[in-house]
Symmetry: C2
Subunit: 191 residues, 2 copies
């Protein structure tokens, strides 16, 4: 408490960064709020002033993850077909493992947090448009091939990303993630 100023300046960002670091090292389940504070160089109660509770911090990490995913998808959304959008999804998940782990782990976030919902919906819109059949409207019956196709596409890339993160699946020697993802998305029936 001597050399450091009383006010951090940008503690919220520093806490988010420390949290992501720790999650990358030890997983989201064993994250300790006090250790996040220690790593950011502040007292154990400081995080409470930026995030209501531990779940609030994780919710913010998840929301940031959805925004990062949205940005990654938007880079390709204009020109790419679903295959390339799916590749982007998988590449995001493997290149931001901590964010993705928080996004997909049940019970870690406040599911109705407005910031989280907005961020997730933003990515969802891009994914839905990317997977949907062009020219189809949204009000179709539930089991129609249109909804089935969107669900299949989303399930496909999400499932692959999860299997990769769990280590249940890994790229072959000399194979990169993009190649693997393309081989998988190619298995989806053509629209």
């Amino acid at each position: 408490m001597s050399d450091r100023p009383y006010h951090h300046g940008n503690l919220r960002r520093a806490l988010l960064d420390s949290a992501v670091e720790l999650i990358a090292e030890r997983g989201p389940a064993s994250l300790s709020l006090r250790e996040v504070a220690r790593r950011a160089g502040v007292s154990h109660a400081a995080p409470a002033h930026h995030f209501a509770d531990k779940t609030g911090l994780l919710t913010a990490v998840a929301a940031e993850g959805w925004r990062l995913l949205t940005a990654a998808l938007a880079d390709r959304a204009a020109t790419a077909d679903f295959g390339e959008l799916g590749v982007s999804y998988v590449v995001f998940a493997t290149s931001h493992p901590a964010h993705f782990a928080v996004m997909r782990t049940p019970g870690l976030v406040h599911p109705d947090d407005p910031e989280l919902v907005a961020a997730r919906d933003g990515a969802g819109t891009l994914l839905y448009r990317g997977a949907g059949v062009p020219g189809e409207d949204a009000g179709r019956p539930a089991a129609s091939s249109g909804r089935g196709r969107v669900l299949a596409a989303w399930s496909l890339v999400h499932g692959l990303a999860v299997l990769l993160q769990e280590g249940l699946v890994a790229p072959g020697p000399g194979e990169d993630i993009e190649t693997l993802a393309r081989a998988v998305t190619a298995q989806l029936a053509p629209a």
Copy 2:
């Protein structure tokens, strides 16, 4: 401690059941070992004699889940094609949500536990055979269409099961899980 006998009789099973109950109610992240013990009617330290630690208990739940999944798949494995196997996978996940949540949540189990590995491999064999192209051998190059197809099939059903459990996807009114799962697996390109 008066009416209850000092020795429980089948505490291991009772602890597993209590754990599954609690996970179904509040999710796997907030499971408390002491509360599992309370619900089973034993002291807070009793679980240590049947499971090394909290992770050990969750590992046992996950292993049981994989065995239940294997049994469900085996019921259909003889006659069914991949589509029906995938439907079984999704039905298992939605009808055993607590087990499935532990199986898919990162960092909850001892990943190298022999019992867990054996149980998971048992299910994996059935899934691999179900998704694979008949007559194809295993030593193909990594990105071949054969491996891509297996990965796609596995990713597809796992992803759908996850999306259903998270509530990000739900069957339409009057639609059941099997119908939805069939609509999704139908989107996989024919072998």
